[in-house]
């Protein structure tokens, strides 16, 4: 019996741990599908976390917290878009700068909030009926709002990308913007839209950390999850469903580490904390290396600014 409770608890926690990474990864999938590599995810996550927490604490409103996160991360997305899409600066450099800036800014803003608790956080809302299913009920249906939203977002993202006109436009812009442009698709509008959308998801990933996962503010609390999300996108071959699987692996190993520690198994905690990153990457490499998928499925125009009059 104890095994079962342990397993249930582990899987339940794995989903929670996977959530912020998956939000960020979904966002990055959209941005990269449009041909824009946003390496600013980690920074935007941190700024989103700080903004959400700060607003929630001061306004006592979860909704305002989330709205503030959305607004700020959209602003970051707009700035990034303007620099890389309109001004055609290097996406890699701009993204790195954004991460450095976001990390610093969030630390600065968060100084006064360290140690505070938010009066409002995302509480678990067991889904009526469904959460009563043995084992699975607790694992899947005893979570907060943001997790449930994610349940919908994964299949929805897949559907949008592969089964709608908008998704077709998106894929075309990321593969061959000149072709899309020649058929009247507004390459710039598409890229702006999906980069901002992606940025918003990264911000939400941050808000999840500071308002649900560990409701508090800690400097650099994203702890590299933004980077893992970016790697995940590549090995998930820009596919939301695969990204969900990858995020779950990360979440699972992450949680196991905690469980081992709690039971006093004598492995260095630093090693255990490193493990989920390592294992996620190794598993994803193995999956993709065999089929060379990442290379062939990468949006061909990724990182290349579009200029109509250039040849």
């Amino acid at each position: 019996m104890e095994m079962v409770t342990l397993l249930t608890a582990t899987l339940h926690a794995a989903i929670i741990s996977a959530t912020p990474i998956l939000y960020a990864a979904l966002g990055e999938i959209f941005a990269e599908r449009s041909g824009v590599l946003n390496l600013g995810v980690e920074g935007i996550m941190l700024v989103g976390a700080a903004t959400g927490f700060y607003t929630a604490v001061n306004s006592q409103s979860l909704l305002l917290g989330i709205l503030a996160t959305v607004a700020v991360s959209l602003l970051f997305g707009l700035i990034f878009s303007f620099i890389t899409i309109t001004l055609r600066a290097s996406q890699v450099v701009t993204g790195l700068v954004l991460t450095i800036f976001g990390t610093g800014l969030s630390a600065f803003l968060g100084k006064s909030m360290i140690g505070q608790a938010s009066p409002v956080i995302f509480h678990k809302i067991p889904v009526p009926v469904l959460s009563k299913i043995p084992i699975l009920g607790h694992v899947l249906f005893n979570h907060d709002m943001l997790v449930y939203v994610l349940y919908l977002l994964v299949p929805l993202s897949w559907f949008v990308i592969y089964r709608t006109r908008e998704g077709l436009n998106l894929r075309a812009v990321g593969e061959n913007p000149a072709a899309a442009d020649a058929l009247g698709i507004n390459v710039f509008a598409v890229r702006y839209f999906y980069v901002c959308l992606g940025s918003m998801f990264a911000g939400l990933a941050g808000a999840y950390l500071s308002l649900a996962y560990a409701p508090s503010w800690l400097e650099n609390m994203s702890a590299g999850r933004g980077w893992i999300a970016i790697v995940l996108v590549i090995f998930a071959t820009w596919n939301p469903v695969r990204a969900a699987l990858g995020a779950l692996i990360f979440g699972g190993v992450d949680v196991l580490g905690f469980k081992f520690q709690a039971r006093g198994i004598g492995i260095s905690p630093y090693f255990m904390r490193m493990l989920p990153y390592l294992i996620t990457i190794i598993v994803l490499i193995i999956i993709t290396a065999r089929s060379q998928m990442a290379k062939n499925l990468m949006p061909k125009a990724l990182t290349i600014p579009y200029d109509r009059e250039e040849r």
């Binding site: 709608t164 077709l168 894929r171 075309a172 061959n176 442009d181 009247g184 061909k300 109509r308």
Partner: protein, 506 residues
């Protein structure tokens, strides 16, 4: 009948100081096939890109069916019934034929019913005799098929004026015949066709009327029946056309390259060379004829040591160099002018000197103790620039500012500087104009006379017939026959390139 569908007046467009179009005028009648003729760099593509809203003209106006228009984007042009098939196709490789055709259309249902769309596109393509599998992804198609998708895309948008930018450059002779017959059908149906080309024989075959561009200016418009090929050539080039090449046979029996039963995969892991065998002799030009994508690219890479061979052997000057490193192969006397001169041949941001020495910077006259001997390098580079008649702003200017023809000459200069015993040239004249093509041909012939064995890959059969001592036809990764120019006709070779007719020639 002579109703004007299009009038472009006084179009001018410059790029960073280069005047690509200079006060160009063009008038096209409804229902005609109008050829836009001119050498490379004459401004043909620019003019059509302006017409389709891709570029904004600096000045000038466009009148369509009597109404003045300004297009902000290709979409506007398509709405007004003008569509263009670009030279480098604008297709999304990872999408299917159907998806490419419906891309950007707003009257398609927001949620795609893929099955239904495949069916509709399939039926539509049959109606126009442009047979193609709607479910195929673009990367799986041959170049000719891709072109059909492009045409289909425009027809599906019901354009009345179809522009094709050098459509025959990538086609086999048979495909050209098919294309021309569908163009004639379209004209019969009342559609207007503008075909861009620099090939005179095509103009004489297909056009009703001809406008010639030269150096960015429109120099003449005339009916085809009022002009001869020779006159047309003079108008197009604006100077005397270089003399026909003189050839001597200096071929010896010695093999510089011997490939036996070579097998290799392509990038997608499918077999691209399936037991290919061929020899190149000292002092001969061996032409490789074939439709692009039948293993030519992989063949070059195998010889260069860039692609592993799974079976078979490669000997250079009698020495077995199968699966050796590129460096060893270079040292064995192999020089390569790759297909992709921009991406693979030259470092675009490097200057002339740097590009000349990328393989030889370690030689004692070029550097000492790790430091380059700039004085010597500069003198040497300036001599090469003069010898090969390369037009450049100077040996210190980056090669990306040079035209394609001059880049190609530079590449040949580098590759032949060490007197190679085997020179592999892949599509060396692709995209070059008459003058530059002539220069490259001269280089090839003079190299051959100095005893180099040359493997010349080309899709231009005229070129092969003019230069090669023997022509090997490649089809699906095998040599399907070897012919001697003068003993086989273009039609026969064309047939072999499509996998047929090998029996008719020994």
């Amino acid at each position: 009948m002579n109703e004007l569908i299009l009038e472009m007046r006084g179009i001018t467009k410059s790029f960073f100081g280069v005047l690509a179009n200079d006060n160009v005028n063009l008038m096209v009648n409804r229902g005609e096939i109008h050829a836009l003729l001119g050498e490379n760099g004459a401004g043909k593509t620019t003019l059509m890109n302006i017409l389709t809203g891709l570029y904004k003209p600096d000045s000038g106006e466009i009148v369509i069916s009597g109404k003045k228009v300004t297009f902000a984007s290709p979409r506007d042009a398509i709405k007004s019934g003008i569509g263009m098939v670009h030279q480098n196709f604008r297709l999304v490789d990872s999408l299917t034929v159907s998806e490419n055709v419906i891309l950007g259309l707003n009257d398609i249902h927001r949620f795609l019913n893929i099955q239904e769309i495949h069916e509709a596109i399939g039926n539509f393509s049959k109606k126009y005799g442009l047979n193609i599998d709607p479910k195929a992804e673009i990367w799986q198609l041959s170049v000719g098929e891709r072109q059909r998708v492009e045409i289909l895309k425009m027809l599906y948008r019901k354009v009345g004026l179809l522009i094709l930018d050098e459509p025959t450059a990538v086609l086999t002779p048979q495909e050209v015949v098919d294309l021309f017959s569908s163009l004639r059908n379209m004209a019969q149906e009342g559609k207007t066709v503008i075909i861009i080309t620099h090939k005179l024989n095509e103009v004489m075959e297909i056009a009703d009327r001809i406008t010639v561009l030269r150096g960015g200016k429109s120099v003449a418009t005339m009916l085809k029946k009022d002009i001869t090929r020779q006159e047309l050539a003079r108008i197009m080039v604006g100077r005397e056309i270089p003399k026909v090449l003189s050839r001597r046979c200096v071929m010896s029996e010695e093999n510089v390259l011997e490939l036996t039963g070579i097998k290799a995969l392509n990038d997608r892991g499918m077999e691209a060379l399936s037991g290919l065998s061929v020899c190149v002799r000292k002092g001969e030009i061996l032409g490789i004829a074939g439709v692009a994508g039948n293993g030519q690219k992989e063949l070059v890479e195998v010889i260069a040591g860039l692609r592993p061979t799974l079976a078979g052997s490669m000997k250079i000057n009698g020495k077995n160099l199968t699966n050796c490193k590129p460096g060893d192969i270079i040292n064995a006397g192999v020089a390569i002018v790759p297909e992709d001169r921009v991406g693979m041949g030259l470092a675009q941001n490097f200057n002339v000197i740097e590009n000349l020495i990328v393989k030889t910077y370690r030689d004692s006259e070029n550097s000492r103790r790790g430091f380059l001997n700039w004085k010597h390098l500069r003198k040497n580079a300036e001599k090469i620039v003069k010898d090969f008649d390369i037009k450049t702003a100077g040996v210190f200017s980056p090669v990306k500012l040079m035209s394609g023809g001059n880049q190609q000459k530079l590449l040949f200069a580098r590759e032949t500087s060490k007197k190679p015993s085997l020179l592999v040239a892949a599509y060396p004249c692709r995209g070059l104009d008459l003058g530059a093509t002539h220069a490259v041909h001269q280089i090839l012939l003079s190299q051959k006379e100095q005893g180099t064995g040359i493997l010349l890959i080309s899709e231009d059969l005229d070129e092969l017939l003019n230069l090669a001592d023997r022509i090997a036809v490649i089809y699906e990764g095998k040599i399907t026959g070897i012919v001697v120019p003068g003993k086989a006709s273009i039609e026969q070779i064309g047939l072999m390139m499509c996998g047929g007719g090998k029996e008719c020639i020994s």
